[in-house]
């Protein structure tokens, strides 16, 4: 096994380890309505951002990182931002640490095909 194969296997194992790692149940729903329950790494934190008005203000960012293989095994394509308002967006749902469910839309995705993971930047979504 090459070092890259080893790194990819490690990344998948780390992302999906919900027993001893940071793996977390995440539901991914495609625009056509098909969905899959996966495990990955999720964040939802507040931070300061710069709206270019000359001052930094509070903002909240959320993201998920998922193994690409888990998505393809579930029959899903790579999530991406959907600009067309006539279509449904890619949606991601996961609980916060207190068990409250939050639903998001995928605003932007950044696949890393070397390690086999995809980082999705999220924005709030109301159904």
């Amino acid at each position: 096994m090459s070092l890259r194969d080893q790194a990819a296997a490690d990344a998948k194992r780390i992302l999906e380890d919900s027993a001893a790692g940071f793996g977390w149940p995440i539901t991914v729903t495609a625009p056509d309505g098909s969905s899959a329950s996966l495990k990955g790494f999720s964040t939802d934190v507040a931070q300061t951002i710069d709206p270019d008005t000359g001052m930094t203000v509070s903002g909240r960012t959320a993201s998920v990182t998922l193994p690409i293989k888990a998505l393809t095994d579930a029959g899903l394509a790579l999530p991406r931002g959907i600009a067309d308002q006539a279509s449904k967006p890619w949606r991601v749902t996961f609980d916060d640490i207190h068990g409250t469910s939050h639903e998001f839309k995928v605003a932007e995705s950044m696949p890393d095909r070397a390690l086999g993971v995809v980082l999705c930047m999220l924005e709030a979504y109301k159904t």
């Binding site: 951002i49 008005t53 909240r60 279509s87 979504y125």
Partner: protein
Amino acid sequence: MSAQITELIDKQDTAEIVRDQIASILRVELSNQETLADDANKDPRLWKLRIFSERANAWEQYLGAPDQDTDDATPLVNVAFDRDAFDEKRSDIFERQATRATFHLDCYGYGQSADDGGSGHVAGDGKAALEAQRTMRLVRNVLMSAHYRYLGMRGTVWRRWPVSRQMFRPRLEDKPIQNIVGARLSLEVDFSEFSPQFTPTTLEYLSVTFKRESDGQVLLTTDYDFS
């Protein structure tokens, strides 16, 4: 060296008064617009704005990504004094200095991505931009209305002028979950600033009469009250 100013400087500069006046005008007029919209059987929430003055983080209310139809999603306006430049030609070195000040009226719109109930969705980024521009539209129309030619301070304010409109978007790498777009209306206002003066002391009363003779000669007659 001893202090020369014997009176407490307990006043606002005109720039501060004008800034507060702009915020007051927006508050009063937009509240009235809500009433007028209600009377016209239109949704008054489209005229509802929250007005702030000199706040750096007024949009904290958007942090929890509130639903679009809640009060926390109401557009914001922050009135801030940015800068001014004094005009020596229209000023004197003693009492009054004319200045041209720029006030920033930062309008923030929030948009939540949501299911449209059909086969598509509402994009939050576009919604936020439209909300910010709608807010800036209301602000500009109020402040540039004929009723506020002098911002309600005739004699103090000589001119107000919308210099520019500019849109602001958060930097791409930050990608907040709330879609917030800013729109800045820069408003120039001309007024004078005043400063503490000597308290005058009456030395003597004089009565002076100017007369012009038929040949154009000017004569001056004075009465002195000797005591």
